[in-house]
């Protein structure tokens, strides 16, 4: 016990230390009773040894009271552990069996030879709803249904002779009147070698039976269903024998079920073991794993069919479901083709699609969308990363718009920029629809994104251009106006408004006649009608316009039709205010008229003066001639008359030169075919009549192969001047004085050369001879205007004059005049 004897001697209570805690209370009570009553005690209890093992102790003793009031117990302890353990085991065993009997679902009972129930377990009570007292003594036959009662006596006989009845089915009636099916064994039992009764071991099979019935019913139904199903079903056993084939499965193979069942696959289709289908079957058969696959069949009749196979391992072998998916395949193929087309279309149109699952926050992008973002396809995209691509200036607006779409349940239609990794900026047009669930919560967004960078750039460019044009239109100094076919003004620039003193608001209700002076309306309307009809009419003209304040001004207009799809829809006009020019023109015209008048008056004056001066001179000349012609006029008088005549010639000469000068400076330059010979003769006649005493040889050479055009009067004046000059400055000491006149013409110019062997001019005076009123010689009788006029006329005609001269030898004048042919 591990207790020192000394301790027990000191106090017997120390023994209690080793008593099992569960037993100590009881033990103390017994001891106390024994002490009180001074009786014998007998008690078994457990004690715990120092090593922890438990032992059973049987203690017997008696307490006696001493004179000092103390008790003395005399007794003994016996270690009864083995006995006690065995005892416990028996009790435990009995209890165990009882427990088992009571706990089992098996209905167990004992029936006396009289057929009365002696004992029944809990299962009986449970299944039949009887209490124990109700059951005990009940005739067993009373719980059987009538059909079960049949053969009861015979079965009892079998039992009496000691035989067991197995697999006995019986129907029992519960206390509630329900019928339960039971199945089990009945055995006889003996006491002291004599038959004492029977024991029954039954199981309630009501549910099982019901289930089986149901199953049978279901199976039949299933079978029928399977038979009639469009889906093919069949069962193949491990030997590839068709165990079950439904109608559909058979028909799929152009067979009937009865032709297949009982046959093996290998028998039916030789070479089938190499087919994909068979290999799949085999895999399922061997490895016992379910498989699904699709297979294309080409039948002997050329028909192509697609089947979907589902193969499951089952007890018997494999269960195969075949489905004709040809239709679906065709559709799929079409979809696939369409998908390809769609992808292609998307690629070409640069349209990508996206699909956002809001609940799971997953974003799907089509390949094209990745391409737009210049990312490898399937590189993965998340709502969080998408935001990084959006241009920072557009992020806020984009998400705001998106949020608004969710709130207002509208379609998202937005254009925004993205900034790619290489800082490239793209313009995207996003159109998306938000899908809501029944609680009006957005659950999904499906959208398309189109890359409109090019269009946007073009647009921007266009805008810039438009802006440019706009600026040009507004800044040019011309008025612009566009009218429609009804001649209503539909557009003007500001300059136009300014020109006519209009306000921008006036334009809307303005007809073209409102800006045309009444006298021009009909004429311009006529033009407009023809122009709109496509006729070719004057597109540039001047007219008098009407300003808002009623003033009239001259305008110059350039009109062109405007077109839309090759149809004339109106016209546009560029209008310029030419009032100042027009006024200037008028002024010029009147000034010109005035000038012409003055010119004409001056011309008339010179003409009249010269005529009026010459007339009396000529009369005087005639009178002198008359005087000379009188007979017996004294010699000295003759000389005086001659001198008078010279004076008159000089005056006449001067008058003529003044006329030439006046004529040259004021008269328009004409152009006509020049007959040099005629002019020459006319002039020579005149000159000769003056220089009647001078015997000068004339050599005339005129080449008129090419027609020469110029101003006749001026050319005549030149010829006259040159010839007169040569006549004047002839040399008295020259024995054979001559004048050579030479004329020739080319297409470009006419050339007059007058050569003489007269006095000649000093080299240093050659330039001076063309000066006004310069007279080089004492012989000079003229006005000093002759060569000056000559030079002026040549200049006027755009020609040139050249002199080569040698004093005392003669001069050569060469004049070139452009041929105005």
């Amino acid at each position: 016990m591990g207790i020192n004897p000394e301790d027990i001697y000191a106090n017997s209570n120390n023994l209690f230390i080793a008593v099992h805690p569960d037993d100590i209370g009881e033990t103390k009570i017994i001891i106390a009773e024994s002490n009180t009553n001074v009786t014998k005690y007998e008690h078994s209890f457990r004690m715990i040894k120092k090593d922890g093992t438990i032992i059973w102790i049987h203690a017997e003793g008696i307490s006696t009271k001493q004179a000092d009031g103390k008790y003395i117990r005399n007794g003994y302890f016996i270690d009864i552990t083995p006995t006690k353990n065995a005892e416990i085991e028996i009790i435990d065993g009995k209890q165990k069996y009882k427990n088992i009997l009571e706990a089992t679902d098996e209905m167990i009972n004992t029936v006396s030879l009289k057929g009365e129930i002696l004992w029944a377990n809990n299962a009986w009570k449970r299944n039949l709803n009887y209490t124990e007292t109700e059951l005990i003594g009940l005739k067993i036959v009373d719980v059987f249904t009538d059909d079960t009662k049949v053969g009861f006596e015979e079965r009892l006989q079998i039992l009496r002779v000691g035989n067991t009845i197995r697999n006995h089915s019986a129907n029992m009636i519960t206390k509630n009147g329900e019928i339960i099916n039971v199945k089990g064994t009945i055995v006889p039992y003996f006491e002291n070698g004599k038959l004492a009764g029977t024991q029954g071991f039954f199981r309630n099979v009501t549910e099982i039976k019901k289930e089986r019935r149901e199953r049978l019913k279901a199976e039949t139904k299933l079978q029928r269903t399977l038979d009639n199903m469009v889906t093919g079903c069949m069962v193949l056993d491990f030997n590839w024998e068709y165990k079950y084939v439904n109608k559909a499965a058979a028909e799929q193979a152009f067979q009937k079920p009865e032709n297949l069942i009982g046959k093996t696959m290998l028998e039916m289709y030789s070479g089938v073991e190499k087919s994909n289908v068979f290999l799949a079957y085999k895999k399922c058969m061997d490895e016992r794993i379910p498989l699904e696959f699709e297979e294309k069949y080409v039948f002997i009749n050329g028909e192509v069919k697609w089947f979907e196979f589902k193969v499951d391992p089952v007890e018997e072998g494999i269960f195969v479901i075949t489905m004709d998916i040809t239709e679906r395949k065709i559709v799929e193929e079409k979809i696939k083709n369409n998908q390809v087309l769609l992808y292609e279309a998307q690629r070409i149109a640069k349209i990508g699609t996206w699909d956002l699952d809001i609940i799971n926050d997953t974003l799907y992008w089509s390949n094209e969308l990745f391409r737009i973002f210049e990312l490898p396809p399937d590189s993965g995209i998340f709502t969080s990363t998408f935001k990084n691509y959006v241009h920072k200036d557009d992020v806020e607006e984009l998400y705001k718009t998106f949020a608004n779409c969710i709130i207002n349940k509208t379609i998202l239609d937005v254009t925004f920029r993205i900034q790619l990794l290489d800082n490239k900026i793209k313009y995207l047009h996003d159109r998306a629809e938000i899908i809501f669930n029944e609680y009006n919560e957005p659950i999904r967004v499906v959208g398309t994104i189109q890359d409109i960078t090019k269009e946007k750039q073009a647009e921007v460019l266009l805008q810039q251009n438009e802006h440019k044009y706009q600026q040009v239109i507004e800044n040019i100094n011309d008025g612009l106006m566009i009218i429609n076919l009804n001649a209503n003004i539909i557009f003007t620039n500001n300059k136009f408004l300014e020109m006519f003193g209009l306000e921008k608001s006036d334009v809307n209700k303005l007809h073209i006649d409102d800006i045309i002076s009444p006298e021009y309306r009909e004429k311009l309307s006529e033009l407009r009608k023809k122009r709109f009809a496509g006729e070719k009419v004057a597109d540039f003209f001047e007219y008098i316009g009407l300003c808002k304040d009623g003033t009239k001004r001259w305008f110059e207009v350039l009109v062109t039709n405007t077109y839309e799809n090759n149809n004339i829809i109106g016209s546009q006009s560029i209008i310029r205010d030419i009032n100042i020019r027009k006024e200037a023109e008028y002024k010029l015209e009147s000034q010109n008229f005035e000038l012409k008048k003055i010119n004409s008056e001056l011309d008339n004056f010179v003409y009249s003066t010269s005529h009026d001066l010459r007339s009396p001179l000529m009369s005087l000349m005639g009178l002198i001639d008359l005087c000379i012609s009188i007979e017996d006029v004294p010699a000295d008088l003759q000389q005086y008359f001659s001198l008078m005549k010279n004076c008159i010639y000089r005056v006449d000469d001067t008058i003529k030169e003044i006329l030439v000068y006046s004529h040259n400076s004021r008269k328009y330059i004409g152009s006509e075919k020049i007959n040099i010979k005629q002019i020459l003769n006319a002039k020579l006649e005149n000159i000769k009549s003056i220089n009647i005493n001078k015997k000068i040889d004339l050599y005339i050479n005129i080449n008129e192969h090419i027609d020469f055009y110029s101003d006749k009067q001026r050319v005549a004046a030149i010829i006259n001047c040159l010839l007169a000059n040569s006549y004047t400055y002839y040399r008295d000491n020259e024995t054979t004085p001559y004048i050579k006149f030479n004329f020739s013409a080319t297409e470009k110019e006419g050339k007059i050369i007058v050569e003489d062997n007269g006095e000649g001019i000093e080299q240093n005076k050659i330039d001076k001879i063309f000066e006004m009123f310069y007279r080089n010689s004492e012989k000079s009788v003229g006005s000093g205007l002759g060569l000056y006029n000559c030079k002026e006329i040549v200049n006027k005609l755009g020609g040139s004059i050249k002199i080569t001269s040698e004093i005392g030898k003669g001069s050569t004048f060469a004049v070139c005049i452009p041929n105005c042919k």
Binding site: S615, P616, M618, S619, G622
Partner: protein, 138 residues
């Protein structure tokens, strides 16, 4: 021999010219008119009398009221049958070629004489007048 009609507003010129013509004896007779209008009146009178008009006319250009061209214009209105034998010389101190051209446009004008008239000029003209055929087409 021709009958000559002188038309000039200048008395001295008329006197001179008359003398030269008479002196040179190129004409049967000389009649002088001091203005174009008077000359026209004379011609009308002659026509009225159904007599023949002078065959030669010396016509000054610059005259008051009606000048030489004015006379030519009116003269052109007289029926060609009456005037076809008449030759006209313009007698002028004008040097304007334009006037010469203008004068020649009238079919009866055959010469243009610069003043002063002298024996040579009148003889040449009378010669020219005699050699020029009847004036119908010009």
């Amino acid at each position: 021999m021709k009958r000559i009609l002188l038309i000039d507003d200048d008395h001295i010129t008329n006197m001179l010219n008359e003398r030269i013509i008479k002196y040179t004896q190129v004409a049967e007779s000389v009649h002088v008119c001091i203005s174009a209008q008077k000359a026209l009146n004379l011609i009308t009178d002659i026509i009225d009398k159904q007599e023949s008009i002078p065959e030669v006319i010396l016509l000054d250009i610059r005259m008051p009221i009606m000048d030489g061209f004015g006379f030519l214009e009116e003269f052109a209105k007289i029926p060609e049958s009456i005037t076809s034998d008449v030759k006209i010389a313009m007698l002028t101190s004008s040097l304007e070629d334009s006037e010469k051209d203008r004068a020649y446009k009238y079919k009866n004008v055959i010469d243009f004489i610069n003043k002063p008239l002298n024996e040579v000029k009148i003889r040449e003209f009378i010669k020219k007048a005699e050699t020029t055929p009847k004036i119908f087409f010009k």
